[in-house]
Amino acid sequence: MTMNILFYILAAVMIVATLLAITEKHPVHAIVYLVTSFFAMAGIFYLLCAPLVAMFEVIIYAGAVMVLFMFVIMMLDLGHPEEAQRPAFITWLVPLILTSLVLSSVVSAAVFRTFPGGSNVEITARAFATVLFGRYGVAIEIISMQLLFAVVGALYLGRKGGGK
């Protein structure tokens, strides 16, 4: 019961914050809304017995990615973003189509399929790690190789007199 109430509150916060993040003109405000939405999402993950995912959501998305975005925005002179024009309707068209596709599939899935009820067993760090590094070990290796490439590339671009 309490869980349900908490879930609806968090879900409402998340949807409202995400909408505001999309419609807000000022990038810094948008980031603050987005971080709020991430927090609500982390709360929902926690309710779903996945505390590890909840924490990673906050550490990685709210704590690292958004901070880097903010860093870049603060370094740039944006002028007056509040006075910017909203995009014309035609530019909304493609996102609208995509959104409606996603929404309709979600709704149809919710209507036509039954899901096994969420288990109340908490996913521990150990279980998570066993699956991640056991079953999906190869995927992890590939992703880490990719990250290594990215690091090497960044080093190459960032070295003194580099990037030419």
């Binding site: 603050v32 906050v58 550490i59 704590g63 903010m70 603060m74």
Partner: protein, 330 residues
């Protein structure tokens, strides 16, 4: 009463006690810092208000509360108002996961001396400390002042960099304790403190938390010689006070965490556990103050080099060595 209600009541009581203790401690840490810095500089420090100046924090509070609450008109109003809270609240919240004493049995139920014992306690600490960056960043940005902006950009870069080495230095601890739960980390140290196995990790963690609380020698975000007061230049009155107290709460919390991770938490002979925990935590606070009276400020490039080129690689090597050691030990 149902067990649920009892649980809620006990937790609420614990929260109240911890909040009260931590706020009082933070206020007196400010006072202690001024006294100790005074001694270091052959002065006496504040000793006028009350016996030995013990009422000084109260006088400071009254002063801060009665000052004008100024807001730069060109700044961002709501973010400016919000930022001090964003800086202080994560620090206070982190204390919820720290076990500050051995569990006691009261009326037949065991009560953990810890507000909440999360399964992912250590990760919660990482999450909250990564959130604390927003207070610094938004506060400086919303002030619409070049000093504040420079301070907050420095703060951002510094906090992100040192969070990395802080997190990596904790991985060996997780490997040794085989848990992310703070109570289990403490229990794993009942025989031997982790500082014995992991002196290097302790050193890295210590330097990183110094940078995380923006203390000398890592006080570049508020370097008063160059940036007036850094990210809180434009703040006054109680909003400044919140930033200020937040910094000291951060010192206590990070000292408590260092105690939990490396110095065996509340374990200790003879004295009651809570006393041991407090003593260890306060010794960290004392060390921070002592270092403030000693060290000069780093240059910005030195700060970045120390973080990225020394501490992070060292922490990685440390993880590797610990892993090999654990594997060979079987």
């Amino acid at each position: 009463m149902t067990p649920d209600l009892i649980l809620i009541a006990v937790t609420a009581a614990k929260i109240a006690i911890v909040l009260f203790a931590i706020l009082t401690l933070a206020a007196y840490l400010v006072f202690a810092e001024r006294r100790v810095l005074g001694w270091i500089q052959d002065r006496k420090g504040p000793n006028r208000v009350g016996p030995f100046g013990l009422l000084q924090p109260l006088a400071d509070l009254i002063k801060l509360l009665t000052k004008e609450d100024f807001r730069p008109p060109a700044g961002d109003k709501w973010l400016f108002y919000l930022a001090p809270a964003m800086a202080a609240i994560p620090a206070i919240m982190t204390f919820a996961i720290i076990p500050f004493g051995a569990p006691v049995t009261l009326f037949g139920t065991e009560i953990a001396m810890q507000v909440i014992d999360l399964n992912v306690g250590l990760l919660l600490f990482m999450a909250l400390s990564s959130i604390a960056v927003y207070g610094v960043a938004l506060g400086g940005w919303a002030s619409n002042s070049k000093y504040a902006l420079l301070g907050s950009i420095r703060g951002l870069a510094q906090l992100i960099s040192y969070e990395l080495s802080m997190g990596l230095s904790l991985v060996p601890i997780i490997m040794l304790a085989r848990s992310l739960k703070l109570s289990e980390i403490v229990n794993a140290q009942s025989g031997c403190w982790f500082i014995v196995y992991q002196p290097l990790a302790f050193l890295i963690f210590l330097i990183s938390i110094l940078a995380e609380c923006k203390r000398i020698p890592f006080d570049l975000p508020e370097a008063e010689g160059e940036l007036v007061a850094g990210f809180h230049t434009e703040y006054s009155g109680m909003r400044f006070g919140l930033f200020f107290v937040g910094e000291y709460i951060n010192i206590i919390v990070l000292g408590g965490l260092a105690t939990t991770f490396f110095l065996g938490g509340w374990h200790g002979p003879v004295l009651p556990p809570v006393v041991w925990f407090t003593m260890k935590t306060l010794s960290f606070a004392f060390f921070f103050i002592w270092l403030r009276g000693t060290a000069p400020r780093l240059r910005y490039d030195q700060l970045m080099q120390l973080g990225w080129k020394v501490l992070t690689p060292l922490a990685l090597v440390n993880i590797l060595v610990t892993a090999w050691w654990l594997v060979l030990k079987g």
